[in-house]
Amino acid sequence: MDEPRQSAPVIEPGHTFATVTDKISSIVLTRPTSNGWFVGFGLAFLVFMGGLYAIGYLFVRGVGIWGVNIPVGWGFAIVNFVWWIGIGHAGTLISAILLLLRQSWRNSINRFAEAMTLFAVSCAGLFPILHLGRPWLAYWLFPYPNTMNVWPQFRSPLVWDVFAVSTYFTISLLFWFIGLIPDLATLRDRSENRAARIIYGMLAMGWRGSARHWSRYETAYLLLAGLATPLVLSVHTVVSFDFAISIIPGWHTTIFPPYFVAGAIYSGFAMVLMLAIPIRKIYGLEDFITDRHLNNSAMVMLATGLIVAYGYGIEAFMGWYSGNRYDSFLLWNRLHGPYAPLYYLLLICNIGIPQVLWIRKLRSSPLGLFLVSGVILVGMWLERFIIVVVSLHHDFLTSSWGMYYPTRWDWLTYIGTIGLFLSAMFLFVRILPMISIFEMRTLLPQAEVKPE
């Protein structure tokens, strides 16, 4: 390892168990809620309400208010579903995979990355349900004994998706919650407010930090990480099966699972940085979320971005090399068809601009990383748009070709879920410790047990 990279520490020196505890818990317990928080939350909530309006109108009028129609039946709903669930993946990667790889720098960003996962998966889950046409019958997706005497078709990747996404949400929630238990106990013991003490106390379930409890806790946490690791890879693999199992040109490829997983992590880290950079500035957490974290996240983005670029390359290569006229046409259509400007924009956002991350100076510049992350999030959204729309709008039969134009309701629903996501994040940073306090304590040099 070269020196300059190691020089940025995971946690600034001079902290003790007490200062770490106070610094993080005071954000929740004693720091007055700022006007900025109210304005930010208010705006996000307003946007969310706009989305709810669009959803309400959808319930009244049906999916006809959206731009979806044959041949493009998947439109924004599936684009946004894949985009959101991909964003969620970085949270699990940070909390589970980096835990197993003993990357202890993750300890200061895993909590809010996990929260991000939960909220992103919640947004993601909305779209397929809204897309059902009759969303109030969404429970038909699950196998349960019913008077109609019908059951789900387990050979369909859409049913696999139901299981994958609901399992993913449940496991993410469990992982996040058991990580919170010791910190909730800290909040219970530090809170001056009786109501807060009772609420945090109930949630902490009487945690008292006994050595026996810690021992079982650590085992359960590690096993959960071990379970979440293959799970997170499987979830986006199953999402890619929704496409790859079909015979549509551009979807029917074996590269989809790894390329989707890499893309998910790519966009997820971009979202982590877009959240972490303002949060550490506003709450003065530069001691805990240091330049090392920004640098490492940027390098993960660079690596996964290159895998995504390889995916695009293989898609284009196979379009030419397969000799299949439909695959070649898809490539031509991407490059010269009606949606070609979006494809070029996608290449610029996902492959072109992110190459600036090779520059070390930029990897330690919060503003630069923030902007690059924004570009990547746009690029990854465009990628899903290209995959869904360009493949569907011109498939095998010329007579069934068509165009897809999103309506204002498509946009309002999409932007509304961003409002939902941000509202939930605002509430989260206000009422729960956004950095894992107990895991930060273990990073301090004092936490080491000296041999007698």
């Binding site: 168990f17 930090g209 085992t219 273990t442």
Partner: protein, 178 residues
Amino acid sequence: MKRTPIYGMMAEFDSPSDLVAAARRTYEAGYQKIDAYSPFPIEELAEAIGFRSNAVPLVVLIGGLIGCLSGYALQYWISVITYPINVGGRPLHSWPAFIVVTFEMTILFAGLAAVLGMLALNGLPMPYHPVFNVPRFAFATKDRFFLMIFSTDPKFNPVDTRRFLEGLSPRSISEVPS
């Protein structure tokens, strides 16, 4: 044996090293019903108080097996027995298509078993516990380390145990009322 009105005797330490050393000496001195409390997990501590059997992995294994078998059985029963659909003469028991849901169910049940099993083995949720009667115990979730000798220990004696704990040079000693 006459039932003592106290739950145990608690000593407070400043650092994880002190606590682990004290816990080792207490265990070596023959006290068996002891516990230690810390604001973060300390690997050496569980062993120092003589805690070795950890049943969590077994619970997770059982949970995972139940999820795996029930997930596959569910799909088999639906696809082959109760709701068979003939798609172009393909076999009803098309096992490769059942792998994904079986896998997801394995993870789901194992994960639930890990969390619920850990909580159940720890006896949580337990909102009330005698240790919370000690006001200084609030620091156990911040920056202090506590060692506890329960009054149910055969060697426990209010006078001798307190003298023993004083020998460990703790920061303070408290009696825990039950």
